[in-house]
Symmetry: C2
Subunit: 164 residues, 2 copies
């Protein structure tokens, strides 16, 4: 019997597993970044986002359930690359006033990756008729966008000014 | 003599080299994606963005000049990871109706990476007093955002509808 052609349903599942892996990596990276931040506002933003990320992981588990699949990650090369770049900056700029701006930039690259993935998944969930899943994905999308806006504000104001 | 402490200027240069490398990789990936797209609108969007990307590379070279540095790239693990994921999707979904949505999602991940980097570089250029460089970076930022919006529109309307 020929294997059935892959569909948007398969693409949805693959991408869900990709962001599930990514969120778990982010969950591990954020406390390290919070610890190294010189600015208390930045440390606070990282800690707050860590707590939100825990909720995002739970929401993804709910989406897996709605979809009728087991929640399991799939190595996401994109987030591995983004976080590796962040680590390199953290090492190269350790102890300098440019560390905070560097971590801010790394965190914004992470946020934008998530924004693209949640935007895509929400659209696909709608197209697949999964209204409740689309709502959950949209909630997380809104939070990722808000975090990115907070980081942009920090980048323009306090944190970078010190390093100039 | 002790090595001078790294500053925002060094961070700016490192990140400029990172996005310069990334743009050149994107320049190579887009024609391949355009060739595989089933939807003429999507192929057209990829081709148009390829042409824009050439201009983005030239603008970066101008920014390097304003900054007084030689234009040279630095391996960007993030874009390598993002493009590798895209390639994997293109292989796994080759010949199916889900290929276009998959390539759209990959392209949006690329756009969002660029949006985060150009946003960061523009802010830093302003803080370093490089007004002309900030303007050039802002021009590209606006074009990346516009491309992302075009891709979002395509994703919501035609392209994915076929694959559902």
């Amino acid at each position: 019997m020929a294997k059935a052609e892959k569909t948007l349903t398969d693409l949805f599942e693959t991408t869900l597993r990709d962001i599930y892996f990514a969120e778990k990596q982010i969950l591990r990276a954020l406390p390290k970044m919070a610890k190294k931040a010189k600015s208390p506002e930045l440390a606070n933003a990282f800690e707050k986002h860590r707590d939100e990320t825990e909720v995002h992981v739970e929401r993804l588990e709910q989406v897996f359930e709605m979809f009728g699949a087991t929640a399991r990650g799939k190595t996401c090369d994109a987030i591995v690359g983004i976080l590796d770049e962040g680590k390199e900056i953290m090492e190269d700029f350790a102890g300098t006033d440019a560390l905070d701006p560097g971590m801010l930039a790394a965190a914004q690259a992470v946020e934008h990756y998530e924004i693209s993935r949640y935007g895509t998944l929400r659209t696909w969930a709608e197209q697949l008729g999964m209204k409740d899943a689309a709502k959950l994905l949209d909630l997380t999308l809104a939070e990722e966008k808000k975090t990115d806006a907070t980081l942009s504000q920090l980048a323009s104001m306090k944190v970078n000014a010190k390093a100039a």
